[in-house]
Symmetry: C2
């Protein structure tokens, strides 16, 4: 197969995004290995023709490219450098594609730490959600040296619909992802304020949705998340706690930059409050539950 | 001409929006009268075939439909009920199409006050900006009784690309417009935070714009306003002071509803700060000038 790496591709973290990526790789004909702490995730991978491994260290010797799709910086550290981490077993010249949303300064430092061990890295946060991961059409915001891209072209083409290439420096991809999360988080919180006000005023929510999505007040998040509130369905596609984390990264980056970001801070407090009130694992649109006395639509059919 | 009113159409307020509306009416064959405090606005109307009038009172006897496109509640009061206001001279059965963004409670009360004098009203805030007004493709968020719509169908069709009909009650149109302004104002301020952070981190702004406009962080306002910042062009299309006013209306409505809207309040403070620092009449994207130590792109060609 043209563009295929000589060795297998590993995926660490077989959650909603990682399992979709692994399946996209299998569909494209790549030998695909994966690991996850949850046995059911390994079983799902194996039922689709992949190979489950016990831990990241077991992936290292067999993979030329390792896609890391865990949730946060602490998990990246664990799966790469922990007691069963992949780095000690990865061969020189291997490439780590680092997809977690992490502080840009951490991504930059990680690239240096891997280089010291002869391992290449792409800083490659992803966007688009589980459905796009499953269909191989994620958006990737990548940066890294040309020699890290070269062996990955086939893999990137299999898992992503669009790969933005933001420059040779590690951290550039993460900077853009963090700014995307700033906007996404604030827009979800703004959607919550808008719908809460509409509900308290007795506005017809379906009409409001129709008008806003055709007006200057629209956002990708309003269009995508307001229907969850209107349907009373907070099944988690992307959870409240994800924005507790990501807006926390935004605020850390802003502090490093000496910038007071009051909207981001206000949105972060709203997600923190929602999480503190027990909604952390619900869909991020559940941030609307922080408003007192707002009679939210119930689930359809009840 | 089918659907034309028996008498002329009047436009009060020939600013960027009102002049566009008057020209759309003229193009559609309506006899069109207008008034504005600025003589140059009257001259512009007359050069296109309309008739300039000295004051709103002069419009009343000649117009069956009066479109009020002034900026705020105080101006609506002045042009309708002030010493030279239109209401005393308007015939019974005339229709006032009230387009200013005003508190929903004011719009509701205004409908009642006009009805007492035998005058019909459409609560009809508009959206879309000067370009869409000029081409007769504004969006209108309307409410009012069927008998107020009936004589206006031809006029609405001439000036608007889309007319949302939100119910018989005055105030419904204004409620939806105010919620649109909540989102629009917060999204502009969020755009400013995102670009400020990007600039301080040294992100390539053109690449950032390309990624965000194809990602979940996108908004109508980011897509439309970020180019003003990137081009260093703060020529006012919609001014900072408009959002000082409109987010003020949002917060008043929220207070009436007993809702703490922290994002809207934070965005309002950003626009207030920008206005206080002398940027009130610049384009609303100039809200980004509130951030300290952010080296904004200069105008192109300098």
């Amino acid at each position: 197969m043209p563009g295929a790496p000589e060795r297998a591709v590993g995926v660490i973290g077989l959650g909603a995004m990682g399992l979709g990526v692994a399946r996209s790789l299998l569909r494209a004909g790549f030998e695909t290995l994966g690991c996850d702490v949850r046995p059911e995730a390994l079983a799902a991978l194996e039922s689709d023709g992949g190979t489950g491994c016990a831990d990241p260290a077991a992936l290292g010797p067999r993979c030329g490219i390792l896609i890391v799709l865990v949730v946060n910086q602490a998990q990246v550290e664990e799966v790469l450098f922990g007691p069963s981490g992949a780095v000690p077993t990865l061969g020189r010249g291997s490439v780590v594609i680092a997809c977690a949303t992490v502080p840009p300064s951490y991504a930059a430092a990680l690239g240096g730490r891997l280089r010291e061990r002869g391992i290449l890295m792409l800083d490659a946060p992803v966007s688009g959600g589980a459905a796009k991961a499953a269909s191989g059409r994620m958006t990737m915001m990548t940066s890294g040296p040309p020699e890290a891209y070269a062996p990955c072209e086939g893999v990137l083409g299999a898992v992503a619909g669009h790969v933005y290439r933001l420059g040779p420096g590690h951290g550039l991809g993460s900077q853009v992802k963090v700014i995307n999360q700033l906007l996404a988080g604030v827009h979800i919180a703004a959607m919550a304020e808008a719908l809460a006000l509409g509900i308290r005023q007795g506005v017809d929510l379906d009409a409001l949705y129709e008008v806003i999505t055709h007006s200057a007040g629209n956002s990708w998040m309003f269009e995508n998340r307001a229907p969850h509130v209107l349907a009373g369905d907070y099944t988690s596609l992307s959870a409240v706690d994800l924005f507790v984390k990501d807006l926390g990264i935004v605020l850390d980056a802003a502090r490093e930059a000496g910038l007071p970001l009051t909207l981001s801070a206000a949105a972060h407090r709203m997600f923190l409050k929602a999480s503190g009130e027990g909604h952390g694992r619900e869909d991020d649109s559940a941030v609307i539950k922080v408003f007192p006395g707002v009679d939210l639509p119930g689930p359809k059919g009840t």
